[in-house]
């Protein structure tokens, strides 16, 4: 007979699961696993749908903005919807809204014919333009009514993702601009604008933006209110970062920044580097919207006139940075055009509350009139990109 200790040892060794317990556990696990996997699949499908909706919306808004920037009708109208004499294959020559009627393109392209980066050939955009009644825009007319309805449709693999509708009438003035683009320009003194601030404002307005100004010394509450009224902020190098401080740090709208110290405040890097005698940058990434009209590896001067050098990031960069260009000469590499996506990690142990862009001509004495065509293109596209947010 076993001793008491032997019984206890045997009892311990006998611990484990019986067959019935094992079968029951397997049944429970498999039931729960199936349910969880179905939930996961549904969750992924929903995420994919949201992503496609977002991309589709961006594509539709981009094309609609392009169309609405044009005139109601050609300067020599032929009394019909459609292109007058413009080439069907070159959108850059189209000069009125009904030139887009019947147009279809897959995969999506910019107006200059360059393909939108990162999109598969499954994406397609199409446009319909029709005369409609002014009292009922759903009533299509075969004759001139002074009201045109524009429908931009975006589909993926044949499935309609989104459709955008807008109206344009014969009353729309040529000087109206594109009101959906409102930019907040930070200035050193709102009561006495610096001539270069005025020059920047004029240049930005020529791109169809409405420009509002705010003093770098305004209260945070005024900035918070201004964020509600504007789509993007532009910070010229004329402002004083020691006065502007952290007022833009948590801005919910995108920021394009020239001022080097403010770039550090915005979390793009821990310091900046001055290249006082340099003018050229080299494109390192032209897949981004801001640089995709430029050639990767090519060098471009930021100045056509007197130069004030270029400034790039230094120190520790934000983990979420995307570097688009560096200085053309010398080393080590100092990124000259940098973007930080909304929600990406900045270098202040946090996350960017909106899109940020660093541009390289940040000197108080930089004249807008000296900026090269490439620099102006970068400026315009940086503002366009920063103004978009999901």
């Amino acid at each position: 007979m076993r001793s008491r200790k032997g019984h206890r040892d045997a009892w311990r060794l006998a611990r484990g699961m019986g067959l019935i317990e094992t079968v029951m556990c397997m049944l429970l696990i498999s039931t729960m696993l199936v349910g969880s996997l179905q939930l996961l699949a549904a969750s992924k499908a929903a995420e994919l749908s949201a992503t496609r909706q977002s991309v589709g919306r961006q594509l539709a808004e981009d094309l609609m903005a392009e169309i609405l920037s044009l005139a109601y009708e050609d300067s020599a109208p032929d009394g019909a919807i459609g292109r007058e004499s413009e080439s069907g294959g070159n959108r850059a020559t189209w000069n009125d809204i009904d030139d887009y009627d019947g147009w279809k393109k897959s995969p999506p392209e910019y107006k200059d014919g360059k393909q939108v980066a990162g999109l598969s050939s499954g994406w397609e955009r199409s446009v319909d333009v029709e005369w409609v009644g002014k009292d009922n825009v759903d009533l299509v007319s075969g004759a001139e009514t002074s009201v045109k309805r524009i429908i931009v449709s975006v589909s993926f693999d044949g499935d309609l993702i989104t459709r955008k509708v807008a109206i344009r009438t014969a009353a729309w003035p040529k000087t109206a601009g594109t009101p959906s683009h409102v930019l907040l320009l930070v200035v050193a003194d709102a009561n006495a604008l610096d001539p270069e601030e005025i020059a920047r404002s004029n240049l930005i307005q020529s791109w169809g933006w409405v420009v509002n100004i705010i003093d770098d010394s305004a209260w945070q509450s005024e900035y918070d209110s201004a964020f509600e009224q504007n789509d993007v902020v532009y910070v010229p190098a004329t402002v004083d970062s020691d006065i502007l401080l952290l007022k833009l740090a948590n801005a919910p709208i995108g920021i394009v920044n020239e001022e080097p110290k403010q770039g550090v405040v915005l979390g793009l890097a821990t310091s900046f580097k001055d290249f006082a005698t340099e003018t050229d940058i080299r494109i390192t990434d032209n897949t981004h919207y801001i640089t995709n009209t430029l050639t990767s590896g090519a060098e471009y001067s930021m100045y056509d006139g007197p130069s004030n050098g270029i400034r790039g990031l230094d120190g520790s960069p934000a983990p979420g940075n995307q570097n688009l260009a560096r200085q053309a000469k010398g080393g080590p590499v100092s990124p000259q055009i940098v973007t930080l996506e909304e929600g990406a990690a900045d270098c202040n142990w946090g996350f960017a509350t909106s899109r940020r862009v660093w541009v390289p001509w940040g000197n108080k004495n930089t004249r807008v009139s000296s900026l090269s065509a490439e620099a102006r293109t970068i400026m315009e596209r940086a503002i366009d990109w920063a103004a978009v947010h999901d």
Binding site: H7, R15, C25, G35, Q53
Partner: protein, 162 residues
């Protein structure tokens, strides 16, 4: 010396049969399954929120376009009634276009005289034209200033936030 069953061993066996360890395995499995389900449901909920936010942003941007269209339609009324547009706007109770269907929403045009509230009593008064776009729960308002001739003043665009 032979080992004989003791009272202690018998009590152990009885205790084991009444308060067995088997139930603990079921509880562990159930708890693990519950956690897995919670994670799955949480992921599903996050996706729903993301989808809803994407939809709301789309509605908001669309309402913005309809607000601009409302301004445009208001300008057409002025263009087509060059001699009596002021009277016409007042006769329509300052809302010549009221929740007109467009796309997935509606557009409304409202005119106002910022000086004295009456558009038709003075031909030199400027006029504020407000276009309101509505899609679902999203409402967007653009406002522009018209000069004495009813022409849009460039750069006068303003977004109205209630």
């Amino acid at each position: 010396m032979m080992n004989t069953p003791t009272n202690h061993d018998a009590r152990l066996r009885a205790f084991r049969s009444r308060h067995g360890r088997r139930g603990s395995a079921y509880i562990m499995i159930l708890v693990t399954a519950m956690m897995a389900s919670t994670f799955g449901l949480a992921g599903m909920y996050v996706s729903r929120v993301q989808n809803r936010n994407t939809g709301l942003m789309g509605d908001w941007k669309e309402a913005e376009t309809y607000a601009m269209s409302a301004i445009d339609l208001g300008l057409l009324i002025i263009l087509q009634n060059p001699t009596d547009w002021r009277t016409r706007l007042e006769a329509d109770s300052f809302t010549p276009i009221n929740k007109q269907a467009i796309g997935r929403g509606t557009c409304t045009t409202v005119a106002a005289d910022p000086v004295d509230g009456s558009i038709s009593n003075n031909n030199t008064d400027a006029v504020l034209l407000t276009g309101i776009g509505e899609v679902g729960k999203s409402v967007f308002k653009w406002q522009v200033k018209l000069d004495a001739n009813g022409e849009l003043v460039p750069g006068s665009w303003r977004r109205v936030v209630d």
